[in-house]
């Protein structure tokens, strides 16, 4: 018998495995600036490309790893009721995207440079949340991408501050030239060993 208000046991995580269907993807799934495949992209912000390579132990690329990105719009708002400024959020910006890595472990997201905001944790520097799922990962990995454009806000960000100082640079995307007329940033993920990407408690 469950006690009143006793929580249900959550369903455990299991690996996504090597066969997450490629047919689940359609063009534009990795474009956070469109709320649907047919929608026009949001133009309220600076368009950027975020790209990188996912590697496992020994620097070997991970093929068919799945990455999901989630971020605030260019003004730092989420189109979600838990954001007090939800009503002011950019209606044309989805803020979510999904990508899978190719044979070389590469991925890319098209998005807008996120804005900063203040939440329960404190003053937040502009950032993108990343979830990583792959064969060989029994639990989803969560990390956060910050940008070199904002040294002051990065210094004050409570999540970045929770990371040992020596590992903080690993969470900074690196300028990576231009692509398709916008600035590109590189964020490589090393799942295990070497310059291992900092991941957060689920």
């Amino acid at each position: 018998m469950l006690k009143p208000n006793a929580p249900l046991l959550p369903t455990p995580s299991q690996t996504i495995g090597p066969f997450f269907p490629q047919t689940f993807f359609q063009a534009g799934d990795n474009d956070l600036t469109r709320v649907s495949a047919a929608a026009a992209p949001s133009t309220r912000g600076e368009r950027i490309l975020l790209r990188g390579v996912v590697r496992r132990e020994g620097g070997i690329p991970c093929v068919n790893a799945i990455l999901e990105a989630w971020q605030a719009d260019a003004a730092g708002r989420f189109r979600h009721p838990k954001d007090p400024e939800c009503a002011l959020a950019d209606p044309d910006f989805l803020g979510w995207g999904r990508a899978w890595t190719d044979a070389a472990g590469g991925y890319e997201f098209h998005t807008l440079l996120p804005g900063g905001f203040t939440d329960a944790a404190g003053p937040r520097a502009p950032h993108i949340e990343l979830a990583v799922m792959a064969s060989g990962l029994m639990r989803t990995l969560f990390t956060t991408v910050f940008f070199p454009d904002f040294p002051g806000p990065n210094e004050a960000d409570p999540v970045l501050a929770a990371v040992p100082a020596a590992r903080r640079p690993l969470l900074l995307a690196q300028p990576d030239g231009e692509a398709a007329g916008c600035r590109a940033f590189r964020f490589d993920l090393q799942l295990r060993g070497g310059a291992e990407t900092p991941f957060f408690v689920e």
Binding site: L8, T11, S13, I16, T140, F142
Partner: protein, 236 residues
Amino acid sequence: MDSLPDRFDPWPPGVQPVVPTPGYPGTFTHSPAEAPIRRPAGRGQFTGPLDLDRKLPCDEMNLATPNPGRPAIGQLIHIAGRILDEDGRPVRGAVVELWQANAAGRYFHPNDTTRDAPLDPNFIGNGRVRTDAEGGFGFFTVKPGAYPVPTKEVWWRPPHVHFSVIGPASLSRLVTQMFFPGEPLNPFDHIFMAVPEAAARQRLLATALPPAEVGAGWLGFRHDIVLRGRAATPPC
């Protein structure tokens, strides 16, 4: 959306799989060696996309007869359940993705090339729906076959169905698998057995419905999935 979760307790002990996972070599090259870093949860964790059905088509629930008159080979089954939060409240509007091997234990995926089990021209084996107001979802499919994993030690995956659920918050994101009750391979599966607590493994097992309840068209299985998240103020 008055029922959005705003409290996320840590995973209860014994629920999350042990990593790296004994018997599953890939976890020893992919699982981070460093301990995960504790961080203050922020708005990015409590929020998530709520209208993904605009982005991802959510209308594929019949995997068993994608082509009228040409059913997939295998035992026809219906899997129905609800997506709930830890308070037992239905999660409406969640995106539920399902994928699986065919009845011969072969995936319709270019990377599944390790043995020559047949593909079924009438079975792709993936679907996506959005939960209704009661958190409900359902799929018609066929029971997947078991298949061997190409590792040094002999390891057969029991029949299982993959689920990916995108709920109302980043912290409620779940990728999991569903197993069938009473399968002799279940206790030998390194992935199923990676979950330490028996009560938590029970969460991964579907419930077979009594045939009299389901009828003669197909076999029925019930499978509820509990996402993390509660109300900060518990319901009375």
